[in-house]
Amino acid sequence: MANFEAAMKKFEERKEYSLSMGGEKKLQKYKENGWLNARERMDYLLDENTFQEVGLFTESAEKAMEGRSPCDGKVIGFGKIDGRPVGSLSCDLTVLGASSAGVNGKKVGYLKRMVCGKGIPLVFLGEAGGARMPDNMGSKGMVTMLGNDPTQYQRLREAPWVAAMLGPCFGSPTWYTMMSDFRVMKKGAILAVSSPKVTCLATGEETPWEELGGWRLHSEITGLADMLGETDEECIDILKNFLSYLPTNSSQLPPTAPVPAGSGKEMPDILKYLPESPSRVYDMKKILKVIVDGSELFELKANFARSAITTLARIGGKSVGIIANNPMHRAGALDADACEKITNFLVLCDSYNIPILMFVDTPGFLVGVEGERKKLTGKIINFMNALTLVTVPKLTVVVRKTYGQAFLNMGGGRNSDTIVAWPSAEISFMAPETGVNVVYNMKKEDDPEKFAEKMKIMDLDKEPWNAARIFNLNDVIEPAHTRDWLINMLTYHFNYKTNGIGQHLMHCWPTSY
């Protein structure tokens, strides 16, 4: 009896130590700032009472860190989100800066192997200072931690990985974030290779935190942050919302949701969002909101490459991925960033069995030196390559303009399962005026009458009727019927042979470029 008592006493003491994180003082700072600590974040993420921790009794293997490194700074385990199983990792910055070291490396490797093998999503709640020193210094240090797992940075999209940047992310939380399908950033968090201190030592430059890796940089310039949140809770809610559109793994279909009352009720008036004059701009999102369930868009990278829209949504309760041009920004022209953003999104939807819808209104690619310096040529081709590798349904609606190569990139030619146009559509190789400039080598001012004559030749045929006539468009549809048409076509273009599961030809596509 005494033996058990002693053992149980040790059990309780060690458990208390493991749950103590970085101690009262550090945890108090979190409370004062309105931040959730590592364990509170895990609890907020998961359905009540579902957190099954793994490795509660771990700590650093180094003698010097005994008693000072509960859970070795990284809390891992399994739990449920909206009743669906997930694996999750929460970095504990209060314990040695959640720095990467031998034992927590083993924990993370284990978690990744389990979720990839069984096929459940992985959630990273990240903030950490980088690799632990001095543990990882020297040749022994490098091998025990950094050189130990050959699949540590491999990503095969067996199941969704999502990441929240909730504080400074240097080293491992940065790597997990970059491997993820979806990334949300808390304002005030930083995503960078190394901290400003280390960076300054290496380069001699002192860079302010926000400039090195703040939310503005990653939301607007790099596009590495898909969404932003003000607080820990908001960021975690965003992760859960994202996961609700996706399946548990790539061999399953996304869950079906109830269709909110009133969905699509504005469809009869949808044309009021399209200006009469074809040279005027408008916000394509307004049109999309009329069409989708509950007028709800879950838009990724909203502040990056704004001339394109990449958003998840539901139609008839089913998840869809919508790619659209937004004339309100840069006339809806496709620039290098827009091509990247769309390519990323094609890979996401295709990898998780989400049908792709394209709404087209673009004057073409944004040519010029800016584009060439950003390798626009390559990005156009990556986009095309990805589009042709998609094996989930692709449905395209040409709302207004679609010109040149961009016509093909936006689902034209035979790059969709079905493509239709609104009567307002304009389809051609290039704008007629430019055509006259190029072919006849003249400007309007040179000879207005002759120009007008040549314009008549070039301007022929950009209306959709002749394309529909020879079956290069499946149909011209009434704008007010678009939602019903989509619901119908999602039914007929479902892949019944595979129960809607795609071939995932892009499951190894890079997670950023």
Binding site: S279, V281, A331, G332, E370, A431
Partner: protein, 71 residues
């Protein structure tokens, strides 16, 4: 470029200037209309303030990022 500079979102031609120095504007107001890729593109203010300088005229060709209006 300084804080408060409104820049051209893409290369194009200025076809209408809607403000003058001294005007008071709010976030979202149109300051200039440009033409690019055969479309009329309004350039809007991202924050409110008073126009200090208009750096372009009707008919000017501008590059992406060129400062066109200062607040």
């Amino acid at each position: 470029m300084k804080m408060g500079d409104i820049t051209a979102p893409m290369a194009g031609k200025v076809i209408e200037v809607k403000v003058s120095p001294g005007d008071s504007i709010s976030e979202g107001d149109e300051v200039v209309i440009m033409e690019a890729m055969k479309m009329e593109i309004p350039v809007v203010a991202f924050e409110g303030g008073t126009i200090s300088e208009v750096k372009c005229g009707v008919g000017d060709a501008v590059e992406t990022g060129a400062v066109i209006v200062s607040i």
